[in-house]
């Protein structure tokens, strides 16, 4: 590679092995993702009690997402700011979802929408069947 004026630009900062293929890595990630998809499907079939089903599903989804972000999106071999941006956005997603759901979960029950557990019965709808929309905790 002949030198060119911007020598600093030649370093390909952030992509160290730009001339080596990462194909093997991608195949490994693909297989892992497919396996995790199968696992999440099976886990759902087990019908875990309400809250746990979501926790398991989210854990697997986070694992898959991490693989995609690190390897397909190359955060594994990139600089600090890009990683920080991504992780920060996830923190704020958690913040929004967490505090909002926490509000409905800890409210005075009648303040929740009609039709939800322990709130008023919704107008115009028939009463829920025995068992109804009860919280499974």
């Amino acid at each position: 590679m002949a030198g060119h004026p911007q020598d600093a630009g030649h370093a390909h900062a952030g992509r160290e092995h730009v001339h080596h293929s990462h194909f093997g890595r991608y195949v490994a990630v693909l297989i892992a993702l497919l396996v995790l998809t199968a696992i999440t499907y099976v886990a759902a079939k087990v019908h875990l009690p309400g809250g746990w089903a979501v926790v398991v599903a989210l854990t697997i989804a986070i694992a898959k997402g991490t693989l995609v972000a690190l390897f397909f999106m190359h955060l594994w071999d990139q600089r600090g700011p890009n990683r920080l941006v991504f992780v920060t956005s996830l923190v704020f997603v958690a913040l929004l979802i967490g505090l909002t759901v926490a509000d409905n979960a800890t409210r005075f029950p009648l303040a929740n929408p009609p039709g939800s557990p322990r709130a008023v019965k919704p107008p115009g709808f028939a009463p829920p069947p025995e068992g109804g929309d009860r919280l499974v905790r």
Partner: protein, 555 residues
């Protein structure tokens, strides 16, 4: 022509080649510009027009409130007016004015760059602003909406007024805000000139950077909230409709997740300006650089954890209310840090009481009192009494008008010479500043009293015992409006007939003053090199930045 931070003795002459007349003149060259300075100027012009429009709405509101009953309009018109006052002031002025106006102009100059990272996106952000404004104003012409700028459900989802265009307009402007923030973050990370480490950045850059972080993280949530209201209003999908099992308070969560950090988008740039002005006009470097720099980031992040204090009386759970109340108090700490550091900067400084400094004084006073009333409002038990009263209105106007608009005016006066090459008349500047500060006090201090007495906000009529204070408030508003009008008039006049300012009329050691005034299109002939931070007023200090000998221009 070699720029120099020191003012020359010879009568100043406008540089021959500036961003105003190069590379081209004429409407098309401005419409198609990639120059951040031109984009900044276009934003400044547009946001000033918006400020004027919002101000007219405000004066009409205050006129209506001159008497307890109907004065000049009916209740529906009044509701539409305060909605539009809020929408225009917040989305078309407060959010974009300092960052997209002054930020665009100054950021590259302050870091030794030739432009922002993405000049075409910058231009796009301006057109998105215009598009959003046009859509919102279209809605305005057809009567506008009466939901308040907060668009609370279930009223906003069921009203027959023109809420959808206003929502869409705000949605589009959100994209403008996001693009500006994106540009500034990338510019600050990748385009700093050699020697300019993070710990030498001008404090203006730190605060604008923090603002940009908020714009990136918060604005999309606003976009989605407004979209959901528009969808529900247009198609009745019932996400926020209790009759269909929806939760109207959910909208409030979404809306305030953006809108609380949004108020920090509005105040941080004003603080950015103040950090520069206080150093330049006390001829002293900032006291506690790191504290001020990091407190900007602190405000940006902690500001996201406080939104529920807008929902204290909406039915939010006590658990959430407790969390949000405590966290809301924390945010005040960062502002306090800045206030102490700015004040400490004045100590043993050599103060020049020019118009920008006058606005700094107003800013400081109003930020402290407005901020303290904010902490008071964050106290759940007190907020139960004050929520939706004029106390809240006075609190946020103290911060938004008292602090941000003072910051905007300080910026306007400090940097008018840099942007236009001409100086404003100092005497009129001080007169207007006094009118603005006094008028402001007379407008909003009565509103604290009114709110504490129980006068609700957004009310078209009120009981007679609130009459006197309302008259006082309206009187103050007219003085405030008149003062601002004076500023507008002499600013426009100065653009045409003001004395030529020279490269650095303030003898400021801020980095942006090392270029000619107005600067050439490419800002610097050659990349500058920095060996220390800005605002070094020590006698032995070398003026920054070090501009290498420019190469002969290849024309």
């Amino acid at each position: 022509m070699n720029p120099s931070p020191a003012s020359s003795d010879a009568p100043a002459v406008l540089p021959a080649r500036t961003y105003l007349n190069a590379p081209d003149t004429g409407l098309m060259s401005w419409a198609n510009t990639r120059d951040h300075k031109r984009v900044g100027v276009m934003f400044l012009v547009s946001t000033t027009i918006a400020f004027f429009l919002g101000g007219v709405f405000a004066l009409l509101i205050r006129l209506e409130l001159l008497t307890p009953g109907p004065t000049i309009m009916d209740a529906m018109t009044y509701n539409r007016l305060f909605t539009l006052h809020g929408v225009v002031m917040i989305f078309l002025f407060m959010i974009p004015a300092i960052p997209s106006g002054f930020g665009n102009f100054l950021l590259p100059l302050m870091i030794g760059a030739k432009d922002v990272a993405f000049p075409k996106l910058n231009l796009l952000s301006f057109y998105l602003y215009l598009a959003g404004a046009a859509v919102a104003i279209y809605g305005l012409i057809y009567g506008g909406t009466d939901t308040g700028w907060t668009f609370y459900t279930p009223y906003s989802t069921t009203t027959a007024t023109k809420v959808v265009p206003v929502l869409l307009g705000a949605f589009i402007i959100g994209f403008s805000s996001i693009l500006t923030g994106l540009n500034f973050i990338v510019t600050t990370h990748t385009m700093r000139a050699p020697g300019l480490g993070w710990n030498r950045l001008p404090l203006f850059v730190w605060a604008i950077y923090a603002t940009s972080i908020i714009q990136i993280l918060a604005t999309p949530v606003l976009g989605m909230s407004l979209l959901l209201v528009a969808v529900e209003n247009a198609f009745g999908w019932g996400i926020f409709d209790p009759a269909r099992g929806g939760d109207p308070v959910l909208f409030q969560h979404f809306f305030w997740f953006y809108s609380h950090p949004a108020v920090y988008i509005m105040i941080l740039p004003a603080m950015a300006v103040i950090s520069e002005v206080v150093c330049a006009f006390s001829r002293k470097n900032i006291f506690g650089y790191k504290a001020v720099a990091y407190s900007s980031l602190g405000i940006a992040f902690v500001g996201f954890f406080t939104w529920g204090h807008h929902l204290f009386v909406s039915g939010q759970s006590v658990v959430d209310a407790g969390i949000f109340g405590v966290l809301s108090m924390f945010v005040g700490i960062f502002t306090a840090i800045k206030v102490f550091n700015w004040t400490a900067t004045l100590y043993r400084g050599s103060i020049a009481f020019k118009t920008p400094f006058a606005y700094f004084v107003g800013f400081l006073f109003f930020l402290v009192f407005g901020g303290m009333t904010g902490v008071a409002l964050a106290t759940l038990s007190l907020d139960v009494h004050w929520h939706d009263t004029y106390f809240v209105v006075a609190h946020f106007h103290f911060i938004m008008v008292g602090a941000t608009v003072m910051g905007f005016l300080a910026a306007l006066h400090y940097w008018l010479p840099k942007i236009s090459g001409r100086m404003y008349p100092e005497g009129w500047g001080l007169v207007a500043a006094v009118m603005v500060v006094l008028g402001f006090n007379f407008t909003f201090i009565p509103q604290f009293l009114l709110g504490n007495e129980g006068m609700p906000r957004r009310y078209f009529s009120y009981p007679e015992h609130f009459w006197a204070l309302n008259v006082a408030s309206t009187a103050g508003a007219s003085v405030l409006g008149f003062g601002l009008l004076i500023v507008l008039v002499y600013t426009l006049a100065s653009l045409r007939w003001g004395p030529v300012a020279g490269p650095n009329p303030w003898n400021s050691r801020g980095f942006e003053w090392a270029t000619p005034s107005p600067p050439p299109p490419e800002n610097f002939d050659a990349t500058p090199v920095y060996t220390s931070g800005p605002h070094e007023y020590d006698e032995q200090a070398v003026p920054q930045p070090q501009l290498p000998e420019p190469e002969p221009r290849h024309v």
